[in-house]
Structures are given as C-alpha cells and as structure tokens.
Amino acid sequence: MTLIETSDLWKTYQMGAETIHALRGVSIQIQKGEYVAIMGPSGSGKSTLMNLIGCLDTASKGDYRLNGKLVSGMNDDELAAIRNREIGFVFQTFNLLPRATALHNVELPLIYNGTPARERNEKARLALTKVQLDDRMMHKPSELSGGQRQRVAIARALVNNPSIILADEPTGNLDSKTSEDIMLLFDHLYNQGNTIITVTHERDIANHAHRVLSILDGQIASDQAGARQKALTH
C-alpha cells in the first residue's frame, strides 16, 4: 500500500532578488512499513523535503498524496489535523517543552485531538513504557540525559499511532553510544511494522534503513536498497 506519493514536487523560496529552488521536481513513492533514509549534504533540500512530507510546509508546485489524500492545497488547520493523526516527529534538538514533565510532553498530541484526560494519561504512560522510560515519567527534560530526552520524543511521536515516524537527524545531538541505542529503538519500531523515514547526512544512520534516497541539489540522485537490507535480505 502506497503511503507517500509525490509527483514533481517543487519548493521555491524568494531570497531578496534571488529565487532559490530548494526542490526541483521530486517524485517518490514510499510504501507502508518501509524504513527509508533520506540522505544528502546540507543545503541539498532534504530538510525541505522532510518539511513537505511532514506537512509542516506546502509545496510551490506538484502534488503530494499521503494515505491517498491530496495534502498539497490543504490549509493550515487541515495540515495540523494531518500532522496530529498521521505523523510522529522526532527532531534533532528533541523539541520537548522544557517546563513540562516527560508525561505531559508525550500527552501533547493527544490534547490537540481532544482525547479525554484519563485516556491521555494511560496512552502516554504506555508510550513511555515502550521506550523504557516508565521510571522517568515525572522528570522534566532538564533532568534527563540526551538519550532519554530523545526517547521521550519518540514516545511522543508514537503516542497517536501515526502512519509515519519522521525523524530529522535524530542522533545529531547524541554521542555515538547513545546514537546506537536510539537507532536500535528505531529498528525495533520498524520490526513492529511502523513506517519510518529518517533524514540524515550520516552514512551509519542511513545504513539502518532498508532503502536510501539520496538527494542532491533538490533532486533525487539515487534510490537504493540500504546496506542492512542487502546484508540481511529481508
């Protein structure tokens, strides 16, 4: 089942007198249950592509279908609803609310779809248990290590059972040992049937994926099976 389908996606910025084409006609398809890495150097347009896939931004030209629904052309609030239901973000800088507990941070997506408080609490606890943070629920981000913070963010991404987990340089702020732990967690989530898209410029991280999309100058340069995929032959 095709989850993501973009056709000839363009994103153009106006910087003063200069016109910058961040994306120049990107057409990709991603199936449900895939683990895809989007790779490319900085300035290649991979973050722009991630923003479009994550419905944080809209394309200047071209169509984007998510779960069969045409997302390009939706307004701000419709996009917010899609983000809430379909997408779980994991950011490089974690993006947790500093003053809120881990539990409250995980509850946030549920607040905005009107989940009743008790159910919210149960689901958030369950999500935190899944990332082995059941003993840190009432801690604030400042009381957690980098790896723990990222696991809170992953729990938050999972809590609404989204179609895609979208990770933007998820290990960019972590040491290599912790990075490996986080990537193992992604592997585990993938094995449970989640669709995962990571955006990265690190080959090691991309190697966890079973498919690697390389992007260069706003265009897809290559679309290959990942290293692991080759090795394990799923």
Binding site: L56, A80, R85
Partner: protein
C-alpha cells in the same frame, strides 16, 4: 475538552512566569482601580442626590418664585419676578382637582439660642401641619407639630439634625427651650440626618407652625408651595393645572414663559445631571487612560511572551495544534491576567471610593452594576489587547517557529 486543556496550559504558563504575570497584573489593577474608584464614587454621589431628592416624594412638586438658577444672569432675571403669596394657596386648592394637598412655606433668617449657644441667621420655616405629609421629612425623635398647634399658634419647633448638633451637643433636645429672635420655643422633634446635599444650611434650620410664624414675623408676603398630586400618575396633569391657575392669577400673557418655577425631583435631577455631565465624562475619561496603559502593558508582555515562546508554538503546531488552539491558549493567558487584575481592581476601587465618600459622610454599597461593569471592562481589555499577540502566535509558520533560536 480541548478548551479545558488549553486553559490549564495557560494557567501553567502564568505560574511559570510569576514575576512577569505579577507585573502585568499590577498594570491592570492600577487601571481598573482608577476607573472603579471614579465610577463608584460618581455612582455614590448620584445615589445620594437621588435619595435627598426622594424627600420630595414621587407625587410632590414644588412651586417657587426662584426654584433654580444655573447662572447669575438667570438668577438676577428671576429676582424681578413677583412673589408667590398665600392667595395662590386657596386658588390652587379650589382650582386644581388633581392636587390633594397644598402646603405653603415661608422662610426667614433668625437668631437661635439655647442657653449659651447662639447662632445667627438660622433658616426658620413656617409650615402648616400637613407639610410633613407633602414633603417627606424623616423623623429622628419626637414629633411634628399638629394642626391644633398650628391653629393655636403654639411656640413649638422641629429642628434639623445640623441645628441639633450645633445647639445640643450631648444633650437630649426634646422638651428643651430655645429662643428664636428672643421668643421662646419648645423643641418637639428632630429630623433624621440627611445626606450631604440635603442639609445645605450650614447652621441647620427649624420648622415652626405657619400661624406662629405669622405672629412673630408678620403675615408672609413671599412663600413657596409644596403641592401633592392625588397620585403619581396624575403628577404631570396636576402640575399643568397648577401652572394654568398661577399664570392666570399672575396675569402672564399666553406668549410669555412662566414667571415662577415648578420643580419635581426628576426635574432637579435632570438639571444637576446635565450640569455635571461634562465633569463626570472627564473624570471617567481621565481614569480610563490608566486602563489603556494597563492594556498596553498586557499587550506588550504578551508580545514578548509570544516571541519568547516561538519555539514552543512551533512544537505545539508540529504536534497538531490548530490556529484556534494557539489563539485560545494565549487569549486565556491575557484574559486570566486581566480578569484577576479586574477583580482586585474592583475591590480596591470600591474601597477607595468608600474612603472618599466617608470624607463627605456618605455611605457606599457595592452594586452589581459596578461589579459587572468592572468585570466587563477588564475582560474587554484582555480581549482587545490580547487578541493581536494571540493571533500573531496562531499564525506563526511551523517551520520557521521550529527553527527559531
């Protein structure tokens, strides 16, 4: 459901920034307090004036040569008028079918003395016994004079609270003998303390029977009348009948205005209100400036808060918060601050106004109208000055907000 959660988020944000919330609160408190002080004090004055005028009674009107003059010129013009005499009393009694009582009143100044206490130029009013039915004089102790006492020219006096205070400090005045221009009178009653506007005679005043008055000061050549209509509904028609009787008695040509004044409580109130309107508007206007300043404080702080929390807004939006969710979150913050400030401002403003009123011996009761007005004003300030920062927050672009440092 969502609204409740957003409300809680707003409360948490306010609590997390106690100093900032406190300063905003202070701005609102000062603004609301100043407006509420002025509004409550003005309301208190208005109530006091109305209470004083209620002595008139709802179906009573006054007829006088000079009822009211709003300027010197008007006063001097009215001085040329012929006096109203006792003859008018019987004419109105006969001719006005809708008048139930006509009570004449003659005034003069006299020297009043009790033992060593003497006062010059105290207003002495000669009134018939039914004056106390026409004009609602409040009895503190004792009684008014009776028709019999009037007929028999008894030397009895009913004194105002001010006069009692001036003459009888710490002494029960009932049955005591005072002298008016040397003639002995027995005090038979005292009037209740009236409002600050009721007793405009600094030394106080005394009522004595009309016939006694005529005996001592001579048959009065100029009087004023208090007339009671048969009912409240008939007041206007009774005034018209009286007006026609007096115009014909005084030979006023049909194309000339009345050469006497007819007053009711409402007419007096209208005149006073018209006279003080500009002053009241100016006071409310000036006090409103601090409210606007308070509002600007709210707006300023909310703008800073939105900028400071740009990233938080980006995070919330990435997790599915819609524009209205962000809008409500920030609007709740400004509303909560202004309403809390409003409640405190209402209380402080009321206490300040009460203090002011106490200086002129007036009481002030909290009124539902003033409280609702205060709440409406503070809520309005929160909405008006909070909506722009909240909209700014709601419309932030999630990508830009997330990358904000």
């Amino acid at each position: 459901m969502i609204t409740g959660s957003l409300f809680k988020i707003a409360v948490d944000a306010l609590r997390a920034n106690k100093l900032r919330s406190g300063l905003t609160l202070l701005g609102v408190i000062i603004g609301v307090t100043s407006v509420m002080t002025i509004v409550s004090a003005l309301q208190g004055m208005q109530d006091a004036i109305e209470e004083d005028l209620s002595q008139f009674g709802p179906s009573t009107f006054m007829v006088a040569r000079i009822g009211m003059a709003m300027s010197d010129e008007e006063f001097f013009e009215k001085l040329k008028r012929k006096p109203i005499t006792m003859k008018s009393v019987s004419l109105i009694e006969k001719g006005c079918s809708l008048c139930s009582k006509v009570s004449p009143r003659a005034n003069t100044g006299a020297r009043v003395k009790y033992k060593d206490q003497a006062l010059r130029n105290v207003m002495i009013s000669g009134v018939t016994a039914d004056a106390f039915e026409v004009v609602e004089v409040q009895l503190a102790q004792g009684r008014f004079h009776t028709p019999d006492e009037d007929r028999m020219r008894r030397p009895v006096a009913f004194i105002s609270d001010k006069l009692r205070e001036n003459l009888f400090e710490g002494v029960d005045p009932l049955g005591k003998e005072i002298t008016i221009n040397g003639r002995k009178y027995t005090v038979i009653g005292t009037e209740k303390k009236s409002g600050p506007f009721g007793d405009n005679q600094e030394r106080g005043y005394a009522y004595i029977p009309m016939s006694t008055y005529a005996t001592q000061f001579g048959e009065p050549s100029r009087i004023m009348l208090a007339v009671k209509a048969v009912s409240v509904g008939a007041l206007q028609d009774a005034m018209d009948q009286t007006r026609m009787i007096l115009r014909s008695q005084r030979h006023v040509p049909f194309d000339k205005p009345d050469d006497f004044d007819i007053l009711t409580a409402d007419i007096v109130l209208d005149v006073i209100n018209g006279f003080t309107r500009i002053l009241r508007l100016a006071l409310i206007g000036i006090s409103s400036i601090s409210l606007v300043v308070g509002g600007i404080v709210v707006m300023n702080i909310m703008m800073v808060s939105v900028t400071e929390r740009t990233r938080e807004i980006g995070i919330r939006k990435s997790l599915g918060a819609r524009q209205k969710h962000i809008l409500l979150q920030f609007l709740f913050e400004s509303l909560m601050v202004t309403l809390a400030g409003g409640i405190l401002g209402i209380v402080l403003g009321f206490l300040a106004a009460k203090g002011l009123m106490a200086k002129i011996d007036m009481n002030l009761a909290p009124s539902i109208a003033a409280i609702s007005l205060g709440l409406a004003i503070s809520g309005g300030v929160g909405l008006f000055f909070g909506i722009y920062p909240a909209m700014k927050a709601a419309r932030l672009d999630p990508v830009k907000a997330l990358s904000y440092e």
